[in-house]
C-alpha cells in the first residue's frame, strides 16, 4: 500500500516530491480509465493542498473493486467543489420536522432533471459534456442530498437549459 508522509504547514499540507510523483502516476491511470482531463487535473491540484483528497487518490490507486473506486471518485468530486469555496457563508437552517418535505422537493427536482438527461443521451453523455465523472453524476441523481450549485450550472449548460426548470432553493 502506498503511504503519504506530510509535513504540516500552518494551514495547508505540503507533500514531498516523491509523494507528488505517486499522485501523478495515479492521475495517469485515472486518465486511462476515461476520467476527464478536467476532473483528474482538479483532483491532483486539490490533493496537493488538501491531505484528505490525496488520501482518497491513493485509496483509488490501491483499490481493485470497481464499485468502491466509483465511490472514491464521487467523494473526490464532492471535495473538489468544497475546496474551491472562498471564505465562509451561511445557508438557511432546515428544521428537523421539515427534512422529509425538503427531501421530497429535492427528489422531485432531480427526477424531473433526470428525465431531461435521459431524453438527451443519458448520464454517460452528460458526463462527457460536463467533465463530471459518471459515478459522481450517478450519486447526484440517486441521492436526495442537496445539490451543489456549481454542479447544477454545469448540467444546465451541458443540456442547453436557459435556467434550471425548477426551484434550486436548496442548492449548496
Amino acid at each position: 500500500m502506498n503511504t503519504l508522509a506530510y509535513q504540516k504547514g500552518n494551514l495547508q499540507s505540503q507533500i514531498s516530491a516523491h509523494d507528488k510523483v505517486s499522485l501523478f502516476h495515479i492521475a495517469i491511470e485515472m486518465r486511462s480509465q476515461n476520467l476527464s482531463e478536467e476532473f483528474v487535473a482538479n483532483a491532483v491540484q486539490t490533493a496537493l493542498e488538501f491531505e484528505g483528497v490525496a488520501d482518497l487518490i491513493i485509496m483509488w490507486g490501491d483499490e481493485a473493486d470497481p464499485e468502491e473506486r466509483d465511490e472514491i471518485i464521487a467523494d473526490i468530486q464532492d471535495l473538489i467543489i468544497d475546496c474551491k469555496q472562498i471564505g465562509t457563508s451561511e445557508l438557511p437552517y432546515v428544521n428537523f420536522n421539515d427534512v422529509d418535505t425538503v427531501a421530497k422537493d429535492i427528489r422531485s427536482f432531480k427526477d424531473s432533471l433526470l428525465q431531461i438527461v435521459a431524453e438527451r443521451g443519458g448520464i454517460t453523455k452528460l458526463a462527457e459534456k460536463t467533465g463530471i465523472p459518471q459515478p459522481s453524476l450517478s450519486r447526484f441523481f440517486n441521492s436526495n442530498s442537496m445539490p451543489h450549485r456549481s454542479t447544477l450550472l454545469k448540467i444546465a449548460k451541458a443540456l442547453d437549459l436557459d435556467a434550471i426548470p425548477v426551484s434550486t432553493q436548496w442548492a449548496k
Partner: protein, 103 residues
C-alpha cells in the same frame, strides 16, 4: 422521529459542555481524536433500520457538525475519514458553509 428528539439531539447538545460532560470520556459514545481536532459521536443500533450512526465533529473555537452517516464497512470508514480530514482543514482555513446553530 422520537429517537431524534429523545436521544440524538440531546446527545449532540452535550457539545455545549464539551469536554466537561462524562460522556466525552466514553469510547462507545465519543471517539478519541481521529484527525486533527476531529472526533466522532456514535450511536449503536438506532433508528428503524437499527444502524450504526456516526456524526463527525470538528472542535475549533466552536463545535462544527460535519457529516453524519450509517457506518457500513471499513472501506467506507476510510473514505469518510479522508473527507473529514479535508473538512477540518477547510474549517481551519475559514472555507466553510454553515446551516444554522444548534441551540
Amino acid at each position: 422521529m422520537d429517537e431524534y428528539w429523545e436521544i440524538i439531539r440531546p446527545d449532540v447538545v452535550l457539545l455545549k459542555k464539551y469536554p466537561g460532560d462524562i460522556n466525552f470520556s466514553n469510547g462507545k459514545f465519543w471517539s478519541p481524536t481521529i484527525v486533527n481536532n476531529g472526533y466522532k459521536m456514535k450511536w449503536h443500533q438506532i433508528g428503524n433500520g437499527k444502524v450504526q450512526l456516526r456524526l463527525t465533529v470538528a472542535i475549533s473555537r466552536d463545535a462544527f457538525l460535519c457529516e453524519s452517516y450509517d457506518k457500513k464497512d471499513e472501506k467506507q470508514e476510510k473514505r469518510k475519514l479522508a473527507k473529514f480530514k479535508t473538512y477540518t482543514q477547510l474549517i481551519r482555513n475559514g472555507q466553510y458553509t454553515t446551516r444554522g446553530i444548534l441551540i
